[in-house]
């Protein structure tokens, strides 16, 4: 807090930032206060960030956040002890930072992993500082308080794991099997998904609810399709048939072009990228290719269509036998009267004739 004070950031401003940060990742407003408190108490959670088979895209996307921005994040909310792209030292000094942080914060630090881990030939396909990714990961994860895989590569292997996967690239959770690993897939992952997870851990010491693939439900429970802005076009059957055709220009649904949205769990359709509304694949007319999903991303052909995972809003669809009833009480009444009248009149006439007839017979006899 004092550091921020020297930077000219007031407590009030900081609170604002913290609240924004909390809001951006779906935590309630009061969480922002807690974050600020925690930050003020100088017990900033330490974070160690490892890079393996990756493109650093996830870090890059983290740089493009503003609530909090990276500076506020790493200076005010967390203690980023090791990050090969952002840290100042390099070489031996960098490694020393890593060792020291691990010792000092054993059992408490958050390990964020970016990039896949090659496993073939004892993992020689990725060596940082002479050590294989496999070794480093095992070592650093052993004493981590929480492990977060950022990006598809760390979550399930990502691009490096695409067929034929020559390096045997796998995600973190295939290496670290004894601890819960939070997967934040995406290529890149949405940085706010990471922020939310980390800040929650930082503030409350808990991890968000995860689905069966270890992904935070707050971001990965729903498919792109369920919240897609172009959904009305899908529902109405308006599709772009080719890139650049009238439908494409009109912003129609990209399903026919191979959009994997209906089978892809992510929140890109809600949180677009670089904080610019519309700056996300579908928004610019490119079909989603399912980068968060191991079965789809870098595996299924870009322009092949997928099954819709949960055909939603069945109430809007027609039932097999729609209801067509239209009977009014007045009609029933009148028709009843007519039939009843005829039958009644016939009965009365018959009786009268019968008694007349009998009288005649009696008269004759």
């Amino acid at each position: 807090m004092s550091e921020l004070g020297t930077k000219g950031v007031s407590r009030r401003d900081f609170l604002k930032v913290a609240t924004l940060a909390a809001g951006a990742v779906g935590l309630p407003a009061w969480a922002g206060e807690k974050m600020a408190e925690k930050a003020a108490s100088s017990a900033k959670p330490p974070v160690i960030w490892l890079h393996f088979q990756e493109c650093t895209g996830c870090s890059e996307s983290l740089l493009r956040t503003s609530a909090p921005d990276v500076a506020e994040l790493i200076l005010g909310l967390i203690s980023l002890d090791y990050h090969e792209t952002l840290m100042v030292p390099s070489g031996y000094q960098a490694e020393k930072s890593l060792e020291e942080s691990m010792e000092r914060n054993a059992g408490k630090y958050v390990l964020v992993v970016e990039g896949a881990i090659p496993t073939k030939e004892d993992g020689i396909y990725c060596r940082v500082g002479g050590k294989t990714a496999l070794e480093t990961l095992k070592k650093v994860s052993a004493k981590a308080g929480a492990i977060v895989s950022i990006g598809s590569c760390a979550s399930w292997g990502g691009i490096p794991s695409a067929d034929p996967n020559p390096t045997g690239a796998v995600g973190v959770n295939k290496i670290v099997t004894d601890k819960p690993v939070v997967n934040i897939p995406g290529c890149p992952a949405n940085p706010y998904n990471l922020l939310g997870t980390v800040l929650q851990f930082a503030t409350f010491g808990t991890l968000p609810a995860l689905d069966d693939l270890g992904r935070p439900k707050f971001a990965y429970a729903r498919t792109i399709h369920e919240d897609c802005p172009r959904r009305p076009h899908f529902d109405a059957g308006r599709f772009a048939q080719k890139y650049g055709d009238d439908g494409h220009k009109a912003g129609y649904c990209l399903y026919k072009l191979g959009c994997k949205g209906p089978a892809t769990h992510a929140n890109c359709s809600l949180n677009h990228f670089v904080e610019t509304p519309g700056a996300w694949p579908i928004g610019i007319g490119s079909p989603c290719y399912g980068c968060t999903e191991q079965k789809l991303g870098f595996r299924m052909p870009l322009h092949a269509t997928v099954d819709v995972e949960r055909p939603t809003a069945p109430g809007v669809y027609l039932p097999i036998r729609p209801d067509h009833s239209v009977v009014t009480p007045a009609a029933v009444g009148v028709a009843g009267l007519v039939v009843g009248g005829l039958v009644g009149a016939g009965y009365v006439a018959s009786k009268k004739m019968a008694s007349d007839s009998e009288k005649n017979e009696q008269g004759k006899e």
Binding site: D235, P262, T305, V308, P319
Partner: protein
């Protein structure tokens, strides 16, 4: 009295003999699928319920959008006078959803064609009225509004509840899918020269495809054989009601009657109805023979009456 009864008997025997001599005429043959019959194959397991087919159908057939009772645009709640094609959903108890596309089945032996008095509903190129540009063989059931009297017998007869009527029009039509015959491209080879259904063109999953019925049936069977765990093991329309040219596949655990496709015997209702009603007629011999017999008897009776009358005096 005895004389007239004898005359009646004589007349009837003569009529009967005449009919026997003419021979047993088969009142009606069973209809077979034509070699060049075209149709569609709808695979419910591929359908995602996007309803592109519904939109495209409206566009291709220049159909107006449906409106709710208070005049607002709304989706149709069934096939109706504005809608030739609908997607319906079956929500089974286990949460399993299955989609169902409903439109004209283009039956091999359609009930609607059998009952239509003046042949307004007819299979392409067949029927009693000559229709310009139609060629026999595709088996598409077409509608000629020029001959239709709007009796709506077709609505009664169709077991799939397909033909719909414009109830609120002063000059109403019967409305049903005609396989987009008007979109046929004569320059193309194969079935597209005959028809080009918009729904098949629009479908992003190729859940409904167009082609020759024989090829579609083979394809359906191939799918059943290739993935028996995916399908319920039966191609609907192969035999039902005499067979239909639009075939259906459904997912395992989904029965066709749940999708609204009725269980029908192999014999078409058209065959049954025409056979039963025509058998006594023997191609028209019976009424003529009976008329002759009746006229004979009535005249005889009349002459007898007059003779009795004269005898009694007056």
């Amino acid at each position: 009295m005895r004389i007239s009864r004898r005359s009646l008997l004589k007349g009837a025997v003569a009529a009967g003999a005449a009919t026997a001599v003419v021979g047993r005429a088969e009142a009606r043959e069973k209809k077979e699928v034509e070699a060049e019959a075209v149709g569609m194959l709808y695979d419910s397991t591929l359908c995602i319920g996007c309803r592109a087919c519904m939109t495209k159908c409206k566009e291709a057939n220049s159909l107006p959008y449906d409106r709710s009772a208070d005049g607002l645009y709304d989706q149709p709640n069934d096939l109706n006078g504005n809608t030739k094609n609908v997607i319906k959903v079956l929500t089974a108890e286990g949460g399993q959803t299955a989609f169902m596309k409903q439109q004209c089945m283009h039956c091999v032996d359609p009930s609607c064609v059998s009952v239509c008095m003046m042949g307004a509903l007819h299979k392409e190129g067949e029927g009693t009225r000559h229709h310009e540009g139609e060629k026999k063989g595709s088996g598409i059931v077409l509608y000629d509004k020029g001959t239709c009297v709007g009796c709506r017998y077709c609505q009664l007869a169709c077991p799939y509840l397909v033909p719909k009527f414009e109830w609120t029009a002063a000059f109403p039509l019967i409305v049903k899918c005609e396989l987009c015959r008007h979109r046929a491209n004569p320059k193309k080879a194969g079935p597209l020269a005959v028809a080009n259904p918009a729904c098949c063109e629009a479908c992003p999953r190729e859940a409904v495809v167009y082609g020759k019925r024989s090829e579609l049936l083979a394809e359906a069977k191939r799918r059943l054989a290739a993935e028996p765990q995916k399908y319920n093991g039966h191609v609907y329309g192969e035999q039902e009601g005499g067979g239909t040219q639009v075939l259906y596949l459904a997912a395992k655990g989904v029965e066709f009657k749940q999708l609204g496709l009725p269980e029908l015997p192999e014999e078409s209702q058209a065959y049954f109805s025409e056979h039963v009603s025509h058998m006594p007629y023997l191609n028209g011999i019976t009424p003529i023979a009976l008329y002759a017999a009746a006229a004979f008897v009535v005249r005889r009776n009349k002459k007898k009456e007059e003779a009795e009358h004269h005898e009694e005096g007056k």
